[in-house]
Amino acid sequence: MRVWTRVAGVLLSLVLLCGCSQQSSATDDLIVALNETHSAIASSILAIQLYDQQRSTRAVTDTVLGDMAKQAADAESALEPISVDSEQIKSDRDAALAAIHAGVAALLTSRDDFEQHGSVGDTAALKSAGQQVDDVLNQLRGSR
């Protein structure tokens, strides 16, 4: 019985530690969210290019675009718990939020276009959003 009590104690401690581990620095959290958005946009652009070159199937492209739109939307939601304790963090958070939001909008549009018409006319919006994300990402990495 004592063994089980100890095991339960260790598990509880681990759960608490896991909870504490979530409180990393705000800048790190912003960088993670931006990285995920960059990855989602770059994956979507690559998937669209491969489909246009007839190297990939509609189902695979459709799935990539759906998965990546969800990933970027999750990255945007992940900004919500970040608390702002300085003007600098607030400014960084707002810049990251704007860039990620532009990425989410472009990804959703691409996904919907592809679902409805079987093609994404132009990847310019995705590329522009990707550039915006990269700019903020580089700025935050430089300030770290």
């Binding site: 993670v32 990285n35 770059a42 690559l46 007839q54 799935t63």
Partner: protein, 409 residues
């Protein structure tokens, strides 16, 4: 001739059956973030699984009994229950991940959301376990799983800078923006993916299912020592494709669909079709193995009749248990939990449970009461002990690394 054919078939099945959703996802994630700098972990993991899988296969062939039965008898129920608890929970998590993997692969064919495929995938797995003979089930899944060789073909077609890939092999610790702690987290995850506990329990129970005797020892050794390392090369090819195409674009793999992008770039729709077929077979094969392993471990521990060699009516509790495990897997996935995250957790917790799985096997394989003249030799014991130290280090480091890195972020 028949023996050579059997040997070749066994090796091919071992290659095709080596890769599961854990290997697929973890290798692709690692390739896209660290290139081939963690390839050494795959090599260490493959050697480890070879050592312990052939050991558990030998135990089953010599004693005619599966590893779990002997562990309970040799170590007593109190110690064996720790082994059972750890192995069963990891196995259940892996089973859930594999069902999710089948569903995700079917989404890549159909565009239909993977959640709609989950119940069908689980029912298909149950039907195969219920109706199909063990040997046919194992061979078909393993042979069709060989389509994953397409990753190696794809890597060649991509025409990478081999010198650069070679440099990545020798690269130490972190790369680019990745932290050293994240590097070690993924080293542990890859090690856990290669040494997943269910593989040894399935291997030893399968030996009993197929009625191995000491005459089959050479063949079983060849299956493991040739098949598993070649399967390990497939894992490296998955990481290689991701390293060549995704790493330069800073695309971190978080979804199975992204793993298909390098394949499409390399070989177009034909190679893509091969790979998706391979992924379906590999994940379905692993789902069959984990479902059976769930039944094997509990039934062997509790002394219930088990095995596909018995009609289901004679092993009713064994079959009922597998149905319950499949239902738990379906239920978990239907909550909307991401199957890729389940996979990532399963490989890390696999690493945590490794000592509880592999130490008892080593103890039983050294017991002359069960093994007679076939006990481990000194060299094998020395290597196995070195591995136990590595396993213990990985198990102790897994959860702290998971906490420090925020699960590899």
């Amino acid at each position: 001739m028949k023996r050579v054919f059997g040997l070749a078939l066994g090796i091919l099945t071992a290659i095709g059956g080596f890769v599961d959703i854990g290997d697929l996802v973890t290798n692709a994630v690692v390739g896209s973030r660290f290139g081939l700098s963690l390839a050494w972990t795959v090599a260490v993991g493959v050697l480890g699984i070879c050592i312990f899988a052939q050991m558990s296969g030998r135990v089953a062939a010599v004693s005619g009994r599966a590893t779990f039965e002997l562990i309970r008898e040799r170590l007593g129920p109190r110690l064996a229950v720790m082994n059972l608890g750890a192995s069963f929970l990891i196995n259940l998590m892996t089973l859930t991940a594999e069902i999710g993997g089948v569903a995700l692969a079917l989404q890549l064919v159909s565009s239909v959301n993977y959640l709609l495929w989950v119940p069908f995938a689980a029912i298909a797995i149950w039907l195969v376990i219920w109706r199909v003979k063990f040997k046919i089930m194992e061979n078909v899944a393993g042979l069709v799983g060989l389509c994953l060789i397409g990753f190696a073909v794809g890597l060649f077609l991509l025409g990478p800078d081999w010198g650069e890939l070679g440099r990545q092999l020798l690269q130490k610790a972190s790369t680019g923006t990745e932290k050293t702690s994240t590097y070690w987290f993924y080293a542990v995850a890859l090690f856990g993916a290669a040494m997943t506990p269910y593989e040894v329990f399935f291997f030893s129970s399968g030996a009993v299912e197929e009625g191995w005797t000491t005459k089959d020892l050479a063949e079983s050794r060849a299956n493991v020592l040739v098949g598993f390392p070649l399967g390990g090369l497939l894992s490296l090819a998955i990481a290689g494709c991701a390293a060549v195409v995704l790493l330069p674009e800073l695309i971190g793999v978080t979804a199975l669909s992204q793993v298909m992008l390098p394949v499409a770039m390399a070989g177009g729709k034909v190679l893509l079709a091969f790979i998706i077929l391979g992924v379906v077979a590999a994940t379905a094969g692993a789902a069959l193995e984990t479902t059976l392993s769930a039944g094997y471990t509990i039934a062997q521990f509790l002394g219930w009749p088990w095995g596909k060699f018995r009609p289901p009516a004679q092993a009713a509790r064994f079959h009922l248990l597998m149905i319950i495990c499949l239902l738990v897997g379906i239920g978990t996935l239907m909550t909307g939990v991401d199957p890729i995250q389940v996979t990532e957790f399963s490989v890390v917790f696999s690493a945590v449970a490794l000592p509880l799985t592999y130490l008892p096997i080593l103890i039983v394989a050294n017991d002359p009461q069960y093994m007679g003249e076939h006990v481990n030799g000194q060299v094998l014991n020395s290597v196995a002990l070195v591995y136990l130290v590595i396993i213990l280090a990985a198990a102790l480091a897994a959860i702290p690394l998971m906490i420090i890195t925020g699960n590899g972020q």
